[in-house]
Subunit: 424 residues, 2 copies
């Protein structure tokens, strides 16, 4: 007997038929004798509908900023998960599985007071564990908790993944299964490289890099949380037949296990190739080379909510001035340039250039810590295809390369091949 948290996203509960299918997945685990908590998202499209209602409310005269009280936003938007939880509990009861729905305030899942993008502060698992003992499945509305002011707080978009991992940690679950519309984590995007393979296992650190690069299988925060609490997290498909062979395998179900690196016996040097499109490069020339300059530039950008990514700095010839290049999401370029214009004189730099339509391609693998030459292999392979490298940043387990957007697919396929990811 194990204790399992199962999480189903919006596409997995999109309509009554899909919810009934989810109930069959849950029943399979219950019938195997496991204790089960299920975390659900809102039905596909519902959250967007609710958010649109909030955002389309008439604005205060004279204000052009979207205005709304985040506490009211939360009260409105959290209703989507509440509905799914109730419906799934009914679906489970209808196939003979004892179940009840739980809202965040009933458990309770307490959060901080950052309404609209709250963080979970604490989960009291005692009521859930008591119900497990009675053989009852807990169906939990994801994405929400109760804030110190006694009102509903949502965790921000995609927060149901985070709910699931946090609940798994709170009830000391043996496994947290994230059911989604893909059947696992792949070596790269299969839409770009058909030879992409599903990974049996990936380490938390690697998944974190994959997730933050836009492999939209799991929210970054949920991976961080899983890593901290060492929650064994499976990514698997809700669209497979719930009763297909192997689906109920406790140790090795179909999907990708995200786990501690110690659990991965045969580590590959490179685990996957990720990419992020629509990056823009901004270059500052003749930046004064004195302490505080970087803060004078990146501080205001951060305050403006702009996510600066790759930063490259070159010493200029005479040593008193430098060139500085960094990337921002393409949609933020105009805002970034406006902010830079304001600080130009006080900080001291000459020319601002910017190029849109860049892509960032990344090579990720824990094994590269102990292997030399991984970066050189990438540079050589891209050069052979005539792909110009705009900028490079590296971390212990990742090499990111900025290239011109139109070369994205070619670069991904080239790197996927050169590190042997095409072969089993």
């Amino acid at each position: 007997m194990a204790r399992i948290v199962m999480k189903f996203g919006g596409t997995s509960v999109a309509d009554l038929d899909r919810i009934h299918n989810v109930a069959r997945h849950v029943k399979r685990e219950v019938d195997a004798g496991h204790e089960v908590a299920v975390v659900v998202s809102a039905m596909s499209g519902k959250t967007n509908e609710l958010v649109a209602w909030v955002q389309n409310m008439p604005k205060v005269a004279g204000s052009n900023a979207p205005f709304y009280d985040a506490r009211e936003y939360d009260a409105v938007v959290a209703s989507g998960e509440q509905v799914t939880a109730g419906l799934l509990a009914i679906a489970l009861q209808s196939i003979g599985v004892d179940a009840r729905s739980w809202q965040g305030w009933q458990i309770p899942i307490t959060t901080d007071s950052a309404h609209g993008a709250a963080r979970i502060a604490d989960i009291d698992g005692s009521k859930l564990i008591q119900r497990f003992g009675q053989g009852q499945v807990a169906v939990i509305a994801g994405f929400q908790g109760i804030a110190p002011d006694g009102r509903i707080a949502t965790l921000g978009r995609g927060g149901s993944d985070t709910s699931a991992v946090a609940i798994a940690a709170a009830v000391k679950a043996d496994r947290c299964d994230i059911y989604t519309d893909v059947d696992g984590v792949y070596t790269t995007d299969p839409r770009i490289e058909p030879k992409a393979r599903r990974l049996a296992k990936i380490s938390f650190e690697e998944m974190l890099e994959m997730a933050s690069l836009g492999a939209k299988v799991l929210q970054v925060r949920s991976v961080e949380l899983a890593m901290v609490h060492k929650v064994r997290t499976f990514v698997r498909s809700s669209f497979e037949d719930p009763d297909a062979p192997g689906m109920g395998d406790l140790l090795n179900p179909p999907g990708t296990l995200i786990c501690d690196e110690d659990e991965i016996v045969e580590q590959q040097v490179v685990t996957g190739i990720a990419y992020a499109k629509d990056e823009a490069q901004i270059s500052l020339r003749r930046v004064a080379d004195r302490p505080g300059v970087a803060g004078g530039i990146f501080g205001p950008l951060a305050e403006g909510g702009i996510n600066v990514d790759m930063i490259v700095q070159n010493i200029s010839e005479d040593g008193s001035r430098t060139d500085m290049t960094f990337t921002v999401p393409q949609g933020d370029v105009a805002k970034a340039l406006a902010i830079l214009d304001k600080v130009r004189e006080t900080v001291g730099f000459d020319v601002v250039q910017h190029d849109d339509g860049m892509s960032k391609v990344s090579v990720i693998g824990i094994g590269m810590r102990s292997h030399a030459g991984v970066a050189a292999t990438a540079f050589k392979a891209l050069a052979e295809k005539g792909i110009n490298i705009r900028a490079i940043t590296t971390s212990e387990i990742k090499i990111s390369i900025l290239i011109d957007g139109p070369y994205t697919e070619l670069a991904v396929r080239t790197l996927h091949s050169v590190y042997g990811l095409d072969k089993q």
Copy 2:
């Protein structure tokens, strides 16, 4: 300064524009210096959508009864009001009115444990009153509270009227305004009799008779509650311009005041004519005339959930057998006949006849307590039009007459005229 509870139904909050309009009605009262609580229903159609989801869930194999856990039904269905409350709070804030949404469990509004059709047990008005003191409008999700099990309970369809009146009683409001899509209570249905007039005032007792007869302006339970707690309740339109002259009149706004009969100085003998279509008449012949017979017939019908209305019993010629006639809603005839078939032998009666397509027309007025001849006037007027009277029941303030359905409109107009309701 007064304390006012305002309630807006589903058509009054059907979309964002309507919600914005509701906010203007609220702002008018706030600007006049009043303390305001607002009770809202779900957006028109939302409750039906949610109920359909619950009811269309796959059923337990072998069961053909609609199956669902009423507690889960409540968790799902209550979300509709939660959404409206949040949206209205945002709309109010956007026009400069301090407001926050409240869900039943936050106030709390406690109910009994009859999930799906709960009754309010208690309302703690202290938090609301505290916020009134700070000038904040309370926007309350109607139709719901929290049951002793700590879970959301709904009050049954139309329960938002009941929420509003109960809250008005709890916070000792000076007035409870029920905003709806009609502008008051009329002497009869204006679709049948264009000369119908809006009543300035109607007593609780009269309104109770009107409501229970299908004048669907107010839920019966809310009128009962208003009567018990002497809550001055106004029925008025949310579709009028919120800032039209007189709309903010504290003592005499446009609409109909439902109040204690003492407040109605010039009582009319007859206040209104109500009707209910789609009644069916069931006749039992040669019923054994001994104690317990009525219980033997009507007990099983009540247990079957069948609402028996007019009952007429005639002594038969030899005094040992009687004929018994009663009405049930037409949709319940088949079920009623099946139940009667089961008890026929034990109770002892001969033949069961039934006629569909009956209507019940009622003359209502507190003044008839002290006036003789009111019933005779009705019988004479109907006879002059050739309308056959099938059955009659009377109470202190009501005369109900069962007639053939096709004569409904003629009967209503005839009675409306004969009691002088056509004239101001």
